[in-house]
């Protein structure tokens, strides 16, 4: 079991980055650095994470970083993965991409690279909307959420990307949350030691886009897991295993009320009780779906 005090003290996200206060992407990058260290070659498509690096010639990320076009991240990392043995040295290609880059515009490239089983780690940092362009809906925006392009609340459900990736028959798929850094770091380290395409989907509540106080990022992320709205698992060889604490929430009675998770966020402000019921049904069906793969 990994302990926080055993983690390296090196800092990979430097002070002076330009993310909003309470930014989950910044938090996630800090954990990523702790987990994988200086061998990372980070491939970042257009997103808040391209902005938080700050202005050249400086950078707030103390690692090798390639910023790339919105839809191209998986393929660029694939190119690096396919040549890394030839060029020698320590190179771990890691894609760090938003939900928009992953589930929408870059999806074909992601699917292609996964099918080729390229030796890389792909992290989808999911703040459930296009934040960089000012909070527009993506296919990973949940039901009912306000965004600037769904002012009455999104009428469709979030697509189940981790399972879609599982069905690519890649060696490793995991979900994670910025509220559970040890879990996230352990999963990254496990991924590091597996050859082939590794997909990790990081739930990343965004105070700016979700309309909550920047001091509450971790709290909201934790509530997502505790209410069962976000499920932590990992899958090797096509079999899903719920990871703590989500394994305890298989029993619905142990979950916190969904309302607690929803009401803390301004983006769900106009949900009526019947909408919350619909939301709950969708969460239940997601659990059912995931359980089928255990």
């Amino acid at each position: 079991m990994l302990r926080i005090q055993d983690l390296p003290k090196d800092k990979y996200l430097l002070p002076g980055h330009t993310a909003c206060p309470g930014c989950p992407e910044a938090l996630g990058l800090r954990y990523l650095g702790m987990a994988l260290g200086k061998d990372i070659v980070l491939v970042v498509p257009a997103s808040c994470s391209s902005i938080l690096q700050g202005t050249m010639p400086g950078s707030s990320l103390a690692m090798r970083v390639v910023n790339v076009p919105f839809a191209s991240a998986a393929a660029v990392a694939s190119g690096i993965a396919n040549i890394k043995e030839l060029v020698g040295g320590n190179v771990v290609p890691v894609v760090w991409a938003g939900d928009g880059a992953t589930a929408d515009i870059g999806f074909a490239g992601l699917s292609g690279s996964a099918e080729r089983n390229d030796d890389l780690i792909y992290v989808c940092v999911d703040n459930e909307a296009y934040m960089n362009t000012g909070i527009q809906r993506s296919s990973l925006t949940p039901y009912g959420a306000w965004t600037t392009t769904t002012i009455k609340g999104k009428s469709e459900d979030k697509k189940e990307l981790p399972l879609i990736m599982l069905l690519h028959k890649i060696p490793y798929v995991a979900t994670a949350s910025i509220a559970f850094p040890i879990d996230f770091i352990s999963k990254l380290r496990k991924a590091l030691n597996i050859r082939g395409f590794k997909y990790i989907h990081l739930h990343a509540p965004c105070p700016t886009g979700w309309r909550f106080d920047p001091s509450k990022t971790v709290e909201v992320a934790r509530l997502a897991v505790e209410s069962g709205a976000w499920i932590l698992f990992e899958a090797e060889g096509g079999r899903v295993r719920l990871t703590p604490p989500s394994n305890t929430y298989l029993d619905k009675s142990r979950r916190k009320p969904l309302k607690e998770y929803l009401s803390i966020q301004g983006r769900f402000r106009s949900l009526r009780d019947e909408d919350v019921k619909v939301f709950e049904k969708l969460v239940d069906s997601t659990w059912e779906l995931i359980i089928k793969f255990t």
């Binding site: 070659v41 491939v43 391209s50 902005i51 690096q53 700050g54 202005t55 050249m56 010639p57 950078s59 990320l61 103390a62 690692m63 090798r64 970083v65 390639v66 910023n67 790339v68 076009p69 839809a71 191209s72 998986a74 393929a75 660029v76 990392a77 694939s78 190119g79 690096i80 993965a81 396919n82 040549i83 890394k84 030839l86 060029v87 040295g89 190179v91 290609p93 074909a108 490239g109 699917s111 292609g112 690279s113 099918e115 080729r116």
Partner: protein, 391 residues
């Protein structure tokens, strides 16, 4: 010296085989497909040691090529038409990153309607991206220029990607005898891979985060400077290559019977061969015509063109592409250069051969004779830009 009978596409593949490429990636599209198939075969049979990444789209092909090239790999890709258009965003990114990559573009029409036949619109659509853009007249030149492009793009004075155009079917699927240089010759000609930086080295580099406007403008300016430098490099490389193989193409342009001509026909690609034949016939009839072949469209051979325009009365430019609402691409460029001369020739443009429409000896003959006679009679032409419509 080995003479092989090769289609244009196989000439590309031979060049890649000889050029010690680390990674090849491509997505199939007619008429480029046989390049992909041949190279894929070479890799599987162990003829070459490259990796072959079989991607799911052209956009990814160039992105994969870029990722590998960022880590100091020599890479190659090829495409056509819709595939090239699909790459467009990556084309800019590669050039802006100053990463050498070589690509073959087997030219083809753009739909709708679906049409696999040749024209140059796909190629021309990429002219502002910061890539070097060469075009071949025949399969020998296809092979030679592909090899040369690796050398030119990896020259530290250039450090830009480069594409080679070849006419779909007219070259890509037509067999010609091609002199294939021996491996050791190409090896000594191409130095080891060189590029400005590597993302897989020990240096902590951040590529492409937010710039200050002033810095970004300077980067853009640097690309223009490198394009200018490339003119010199292209000529040097042509000279060096000719010492090794006996074949020179004159650098950015090739002038055929130009020195004593009063009229010039300008073109690019396979049909220049026909233009040369027509030129010979017209010479026999007493017309003092020469042919100027555009070998590099980017950088555009400004100085060479001004030089040859100086001494002629009329220039007739044939374009296999059109910028809708304006002129043929080469015509516009030549016209702009002619204004650098006090005493400038009449410059007329003809749009022809779009969508795969055949243009042969007869069509060239009529257009050229008509043009020369009109200029001789009046000193100007009624129509400065015209379509050679079918039928």
């Amino acid at each position: 010296m080995v003479i092989k009978v090769l289609t244009g596409n196989y000439a590309v593949a031979e060049a890649v085989r000889l050029s010690n490429v680390d990674l090849i990636t491509a997505y199939p599209i007619t008429p480029q497909t046989t390049i992909v198939e041949r190279l894929s075969e070479y890799v599987d049979l162990g003829v070459i040691k490259s990796r072959f990444v079989r991607v799911e789209s052209e956009f990814s092909a160039l992105a994969v090529a870029y990722g590998a090239a960022l880590c100091n790999a020599r890479v190659f890709t090829a495409t056509s038409s819709h595939g090239l258009l699909y790459m467009h965003e990556m084309l800019w990114w590669v050039a802006g990153s100053r990463i050498p990559i070589v690509m073959a573009v087997v030219t083809r029409s753009i739909g709708p309607p679906w049409n696999i036949w040749n024209e140059h619109s796909d190629f021309m659509d990429q002219r502002d991206c910061g890539w070097l853009m060469a075009f071949a007249e025949n399969n020998q030149e296809v092979l030679d220029t592909t090899i040369q492009l690796f050398r030119i793009t990896e020259d530290e004075r250039v450090y830009l990607p480069g594409m080679l155009g070849l006419d779909g079917f007219l070259l890509s699927h037509t067999s010609e005898p091609v002199d294939v240089p021996e491996e050791h010759i190409v090896k000594s000609f191409l130095k080891p891979r060189s590029q400005p930086y590597s993302m897989c080295g020990t240096e902590l580099i951040t590529l492409g985060n937010l710039p200050k406007a002033e810095d970004h403008m300077m980067m853009r300016y640097d690309i223009q400077v490198s394009m200018e430098n490339a003119k010199k490099v292209i000529k040097e490389v042509d000279l060096e290559y000719s010492k090794l193989t006996g074949r020179s193409y004159g650098g950015l342009v090739e002038c055929y019977r130009c020195s004593d001509s009063s009229y010039l026909v300008v073109g690019m690609g396979g049909w220049v061969g026909t233009m040369k034949d027509v030129c010979d016939e017209l010479r026999d009839l007493g017309y003092k015509v020469g042919v100027l072949k555009i070998r590099f469209f980017r950088p555009f051979p400004e100085e060479d063109i001004i030089e040859v325009l100086r001494s002629v009365k009329g220039v007739l430019v044939f374009d296999r592409s059109i910028s809708y609402g304006s002129l043929g691409h080469i015509h516009a460029e030549v016209l702009a250069r002619s204004y650098r001369l006090g005493n400038r020739p009449v410059v007329k443009g003809i749009i022809a051969g779009l969508a795969g429409v055949d243009v042969g000896v007869k069509e060239f003959m009529n257009s050229i004779v008509g043009f020369v006679n009109e200029v001789e009679e009046r000193g100007y032409v009624e129509k400065y830009s015209e379509w050679l419509l079918p039928g």
